[in-house]
Symmetry: D2
Subunit: 310 residues, 4 copies
Amino acid sequence: MDVCDQTPLQAVLLEIGRELESCKGEGNVADYIPELGNVNPDKFGIHLTTLASEHFAYGDTEEKFSIQSISKVFSLALVFEREGERLWQRVGVEPSGNPFNSLSQLEYEAGIPRNPFINAGALVICDHLISHCSMPKQTMMGFFRTLAGNPLIGFNQRVYESEKAHSYRNRALINLMKSYGNITNDLELVLDLYFFICSIEMTCRELAQAASFLANSGVNPLTRQQVVSSSKAKRINTIMQLCGFYDEAGEFSFKVGLPGKSGVGGGIMAVHPGKYSIAAWSPRLNAKGNSCLAMKALELFTTRTKMSIF
Amino acid sequence: MDVCDQTPLQAVLLEIGRELESCKGEGNVADYIPELGNVNPDKFGIHLTTLASEHFAYGDTEEKFSIQSISKVFSLALVFEREGERLWQRVGVEPSGNPFNSLSQLEYEAGIPRNPFINAGALVICDHLISHCSMPKQTMMGFFRTLAGNPLIGFNQRVYESEKAHSYRNRALINLMKSYGNITNDLELVLDLYFFICSIEMTCRELAQAASFLANSGVNPLTRQQVVSSSKAKRINTIMQLCGFYDEAGEFSFKVGLPGKSGVGGGIMAVHPGKYSIAAWSPRLNAKGNSCLAMKALELFTTRTKMSIF
Amino acid sequence: MDVCDQTPLQAVLLEIGRELESCKGEGNVADYIPELGNVNPDKFGIHLTTLASEHFAYGDTEEKFSIQSISKVFSLALVFEREGERLWQRVGVEPSGNPFNSLSQLEYEAGIPRNPFINAGALVICDHLISHCSMPKQTMMGFFRTLAGNPLIGFNQRVYESEKAHSYRNRALINLMKSYGNITNDLELVLDLYFFICSIEMTCRELAQAASFLANSGVNPLTRQQVVSSSKAKRINTIMQLCGFYDEAGEFSFKVGLPGKSGVGGGIMAVHPGKYSIAAWSPRLNAKGNSCLAMKALELFTTRTKMSIF
Amino acid sequence: MDVCDQTPLQAVLLEIGRELESCKGEGNVADYIPELGNVNPDKFGIHLTTLASEHFAYGDTEEKFSIQSISKVFSLALVFEREGERLWQRVGVEPSGNPFNSLSQLEYEAGIPRNPFINAGALVICDHLISHCSMPKQTMMGFFRTLAGNPLIGFNQRVYESEKAHSYRNRALINLMKSYGNITNDLELVLDLYFFICSIEMTCRELAQAASFLANSGVNPLTRQQVVSSSKAKRINTIMQLCGFYDEAGEFSFKVGLPGKSGVGGGIMAVHPGKYSIAAWSPRLNAKGNSCLAMKALELFTTRTKMSIF
């Protein structure tokens, strides 16, 4: 690391962790999927991995949590690498405005989702995945395992089933896109893959590790494999920067200043291109659906270390 | 009839029929469902039934056609009679503005369709029908047969299957409503009933007869049975007046001046409360989805006989 | 009258008036324009004029009130007669959906208002009026005076100024239309005429009289002058039926069953083509902006006399 | 500069300039304001200023052009420094989705613009400016002159008048906001200030210099004065990153990778925090309203120098 040596970084995380003790209790655990509610709401962990394979951590960083929408970054990476620029004919790269627009905007824009991180866009990505892979679930799971360096990563069956049982809005989205011809595979297969990917579980450490290729010009630091081209890594980082936090992208960009992605499981993953990747987790969410403590932790981290992109 | 005696009415229909010969060829047969395209586009028929059981007809009035959305009037009648005023908690009675709004407006209004004649509203009616009847298809079919006085009315299996295979937008609508809690039964059952009802086939004569209870204060003139209360018949007529012609309610009200309902099969049914019911059919549609010739025939009819409500 | 002789009609109004005594107090006087609030909220009057020039009345029918949006029917009549069918190139004849759409729908439909009774549409009518008349205020005022048979009809200066001072939304509408090229005259002139027309004051008797040409195929029963052609009168009645009551057109059509128009001053005017015109007034409004008591009075009237169009 | 020495940077600009010669002719000069059309469409210039006060330039960098919406960054800076965090009660910091939403979204969100760079938001900023300054035009002009280090910066009277004469949509926006209470000063004063600021003219060199405080933690490198706090500079950069390029923020972020702001005069300004500021100009715009050549020049620059934030 060019601005901090090892000891201070660990000290900074420790300091942040202690400081956040007093903030525990803010926000509420996601309840739109019942299964997500069955988690200790006061868990908190943060883990940082540098490109030099240094690791710094604080808290519950070895506990698995549901990565939910953070998975959309990884399915995008897999599909983008295979599909190339043609991908953007079926999904955009611009912010979507506000959540109210979800179906309205999709209808107005004739079935083309604004970006790959809103649900409609992620469904298009899953549709591509099925077109490219004969066994998309296995391919996706293998991708996560290789990136995280852990062959034991899995998914949560109960969360998966819970998602599936509470999926009416996603079904409305995919049917609307299908009516515009923007889904090519069987809808049930696409939805099933989508729920499967959302229900994957990782620890903070695994997630930080898995994301590190995006900080490393597309190269997996563990295997030296080029996961996506350097240009594609940059594109993905840009989309995270602009669209990664639902209706709070501006707020996160300002406070944290890193490209990142959040999930309603309470996780946030972020990368500093050329330097490090980081993952934080705490289940209680703010009104916009982002983890209160994880956001605060990342904000404190980039503020104190001055390691943001702005 | 108080303004015309029998001979002139038949003469008027004959005159209109001949006049419209020169207009054949305008418009296009609906093609969003392939099966609907398999019909002779130049068919035309018009049939009028007075409350005194007089019949006047011209053209292909004994030929069966797909009544499509005209069926929504009958399913509304059946459900409204059973459910009563509580019905309006789940569906409105106001015009919907324009087709663009279909999903957007439904999203903005939290899953409550604006009226029972837009697709979303008709799906809510089907949902009620399932809640009220153990065998809703049979009940609905029996309802049509009794009203039309013909036990042989049936549905078109190929149209039914064709509807079902091209139903993504309807599936988007029903899933969106379900996400707001405005559908209570299994979505597949509701959709299946909806497609079934849309694929019922009738002749102009049968349709005019079946609608006559709405001109007769809710009483079936054939059986003297009170199908719906007088007040409910008035409510249904009002909804037809305001919402019966997609985005052309104002145009139809002005030109024809009768409460009515059209379908993309090319049929139009209309009633003159206290006087008569009428059905016209011709498959070619204008840009708004209403039959060119059937609209023109009804316009000529009410203009010449001065038998409109305005 | 064909269904009631004179004595019962007067008796019906008396009965309705007494019955509504118990409903006084419901609803609230419009307050978006402060000046409209300066009125005794418990006033109530109803006046009916038959085409045979019979008059029946109950309550405060000789008291002037601000006719507000009811004026839109009269400016439409004046402009439609002069402009003819070309008018519909710049304003539609279809219901607008809901109030939320006011600016959104206008933007989506590129500056063409859905009908002449939403504010945007009435502004287009005023724009036409200025194009057709060298002194549009005088022309409009003369029109009202001739129709009502009273040369003393005037406008309320304080209401006019109050409207003008609280006109931001109307200014947003007219500027948006101008940006699409759908306003041809100076915006201030158009707005000024609009506010002037809205602030005209009439009594129930005068209003019922002024509207009677719409019940009489376009002929002013006092002067025998053809105000608008019979076809145009029918068109105007149709637009009233579908668009006359903001977001309560369906409700009014069902309950009252007559083409009509309401204003936030608490007035409602309605016509029964071929039979009579009627005006009711009471300042307290329901949540949709229509007079509680005037609506109820008209509902009771058409229910008891069975004199509705449905 | 830490990655390039002086000679190569100048060489890079020269190379880019030559390369772009072949692209001249793409796109069209803005014509929504006639006066903007009176410019040589094939002009092109690019100027870079490092925090160490080095200057590198190519092309027409000493020619004045209309900065248009780029001015919104400077009015925001001036107001944000004075108003502080309370500013965000009246304007948001999130991307707006798409241009279609301009009025619709503002209506849906009750008059609160999504960010300070859409027109509605910039009008709110002007409203604040009037509240804070007795002579806002002079204050604003003085601000530009001090930042650019040139007391002769001025505005174009004809562009100013041309803007004013073609301002219906902006008038619709401001009236809509006023109807929601989100404008406090006289509308004409606010609009006049808005048009004035948009019609300021600068050269590429002046613009790059004026923007350099945003690359320098809020400090004007010429005067060492703290223009805005370091935190506020970061906030402004974030908003530029997410909202600076109309409906092409994602595209620009990816291709150029710097916070920036474009104007329909063909200018683009961007900053690399801690390193440099840069301005490019060429009048022909792409379909999204951003300068074709200026975008391409910045893309080539950050690609070759690897000096972007991603």
